[in-house]
């Protein structure tokens, strides 16, 4: 069959489109000149500037972001694993509704989740801050962990459980020695996904944050919005990029290394 070149051309052009802004940002983080119109030579100074005492709030925001991400991924790993097991092994009419409820937070625009949580917290008179951010993050992360663990369960060999029971294992021993080790890569991959989603989130956090609880994406956003310290944004973004790549790469490795 004659292969037309048109789809391949689109493919290459789209790849260029996808990479240009990101590469531009990375290259400019090493640019001595303040504006990208000129190349002033290679420098590490924007990275060094991140350690200046006037940029202390950046590090505080980073710390807060990481704590919230760790707490919300831990909580959503528990919630997500429980609901994935329940959805996989038990079927009832209520479970059907539960299915819908797990998927809805993933499909609806994040903006709607943010505003509804804001209105809910205001109606209850809850003070907005790190705790409300944590609650919001657990809510959307739990759904994602459920979906990842469910995917792992779909390839689950049920006969292993039956074999364990036949050999005299109690239910608790079966869970601890058989089910849990087999599910572990799925749970960890789900947890890593939750971690990156939590670190990444801007929209929902923006609605439920309170005074003094800025996270890193909120901080970057306000710097971008007011076009302040553009070279610093390049440097932070490049670090952010490298760290996310490492985490995603690790989680992909985990998902692929299936013992089954």
């Amino acid at each position: 069959m004659k292969k037309s070149g048109a789809p391949l051309l689109v493919f290459v052009l789209v790849l260029v489109f996808l990479y240009v802004p990101i590469l531009f940002l990375v290259v400019n983080s090493f640019n001595e000149a303040r504006f990208s119109s000129t190349w002033g030579g290679f420098t590490w100074k924007w990275y060094m500037a991140l350690f200046d005492s006037q940029n202390r709030d950046l590090w505080e925001a980073t710390q807060r972001t990481l704590i919230i991400a760790m707490a919300s991924s831990a909580a959503s790993m528990v919630l997500g694993t429980l609901s994935a097991c329940a959805l996989h092994w038990y079927r009832s009419r209520l479970q059907q509704a539960n299915y819908g409820m797990i998927y809805l937070p993933i499909v609806i625009p994040d903006l709607l989740m943010g505003i509804s949580l804001l209105l809910f917290f205001v109606a209850l008179g809850v003070t907005l801050g790190a705790v409300t951010i944590l609650i919001a993050h657990i809510t959307f992360c739990a759904s994602f962990v459920t979906v990842v663990v469910l995917g792992r369960l779909q390839g689950f060999d049920e006969t292993v459980i039956a074999a364990a029971r036949d050999l005299g294992a109690t239910q608790w021993v079966t869970i601890r020695r058989i089910i849990f080790p087999l599910l572990a890569p799925g749970i960890v991959a789900g947890g890593l996904l939750a971690f990156t989603l939590s670190v990444d989130d801007y929209v929902i956090t923006f609605f439920v944050t309170g005074p003094g609880s800025t996270t890193l994406p909120l901080k970057i956003y306000s710097m971008v919005k007011h076009s302040r310290e553009l070279p610093l944004i390049n440097a932070i973004s490049t670090i952010f990029l490298v760290v996310t790549f490492l985490i995603v790469w690790w989680s992909q490795k985990l998902t692929r290394s299936s013992p089954s």
Binding site: M1, K2, A6, P7, V10, F11, V14, F17, L18, V20, P21, I22, F24, L25, S36, V78, L79, L82, S83, A86, L87, Y90, L94, Q95, N98, M101, L104, P105, P109, L111, L112, I115, S116, L118, L119, F120, A123, I135, A136, T139, A142, S143, T146, V199, D200, Y202, V203, F207, P217, I220, Y221, V224, S227, I233, S237, F240, L241, T244, F245, V248
Partner: protein, 275 residues
């Protein structure tokens, strides 16, 4: 049953109840202190007739639809190429397409803002080449909003279409060619119907988040490119008119339910059809 209880409880309290609260608050009166009062009123709903809102609602739907069409048009050839590749090359190319989207969303939009910046390299080179006037801005216009929306939502179109193309039998195209169909006819009459399921999913996955855009028009758009998300944020956090923010959000929720229902109904119809 006990297993689902914690997650079920969590989602009811922090997802279902807040959504219902949002609907309820849209019927509450405003208070000068930035909250909402007792009693019920249609004031916030009547205020939607304010000529501003229909224009913005329409713009939101229009921009989202155009974004969806462009994303699908770009994703189809990409899925076509990816689906035909084999083994190692397919994995490498798929990786190349997906990697940019591991980047933080705000950073990706920021990267565009920096690239299109008035004092940036791109604009200055275009001016130097005489391609644009010295006073043309690349930022703060609808074109910039549309381009960054396509950039952001493209993977949501590529991935489901790739999944469908992977299962597509490419020898069918050869059969079509042997039977006398031209290259383009073979693609439109055989390939596109073959990946229709993926096309439907891709449509919904791009359209739904696009309708809820807020960050993109805020960072790369001008005052005339605001979408409903911007108005919701302004009402909720700017002038603190919570009932108005709630009505706009309920309107957005209803609009996003339309593509969800279409996908659900079409998928069900397809499943009930005998193969």
């Amino acid at each position: 049953m006990l297993l689902t209880a914690p997650t079920l409880f969590w989602l009811v309290v922090f997802f279902i109840v807040p959504t219902l609260a949002m609907v309820a608050i849209s019927f509450r009166p405003t208070t000068p202190y930035g909250g909402f009062g007792e009693g019920w009123t249609l004031d916030a709903w009547k205020a939607l007739a304010n000529p501003n809102y229909p224009v913005i609602l329409w713009r939101t739907v229009w921009l989202s639809l155009v974004t969806t069409v462009i994303c699908l048009a770009l994703a189809l050839p990409i899925a076509f190429v990816l689906g035909r590749l084999q083994g190692k090359w397919r994995a490498i190319m798929l990786m190349l397409v997906v990697v940019p989207f591991w980047t933080n969303f705000v950073i990706r939009v920021a990267a565009w803002r920096i690239l299109l910046h008035p004092e940036g390299w791109l604009r200055e080179s275009l001016v130097a080449l005489g391609l644009i006037d010295a006073d043309t801005l690349l930022l703060y216009n609808q074109g910039a909003v549309l381009m960054v929306m396509v950039y952001t939502y493209l993977p949501f179109a590529i991935l489901p279409l790739y999944a469908a193309a992977e299962r597509f039998d490419y020898s069918l195209l050869e059969v079509a060619r042997d039977l006398g169909a031209g290259g383009l006819t073979a693609v439109t009459r055989v390939f596109i119907p073959g990946v229709s399921r993926g096309l439907l999913t891709a449509m919904a996955l791009v359209l739904i988040p696009a309708l809820g855009s807020y960050v993109i028009p805020d960072l790369v758009g001008g005052p005339d490119d605001e979408m409903i998300g911007n108005k919701i944020a302004q009402r909720a956090l700017g002038d603190r008119n919570l009932p108005q923010a709630a009505t706009l959000s309920v309107a957005l929720l209803v609009i996003t339910l339309i593509p969800m229902m279409i996908v659900y109904l079409l998928n069900r119809k397809e499943r009930n059809q005998p193969v």
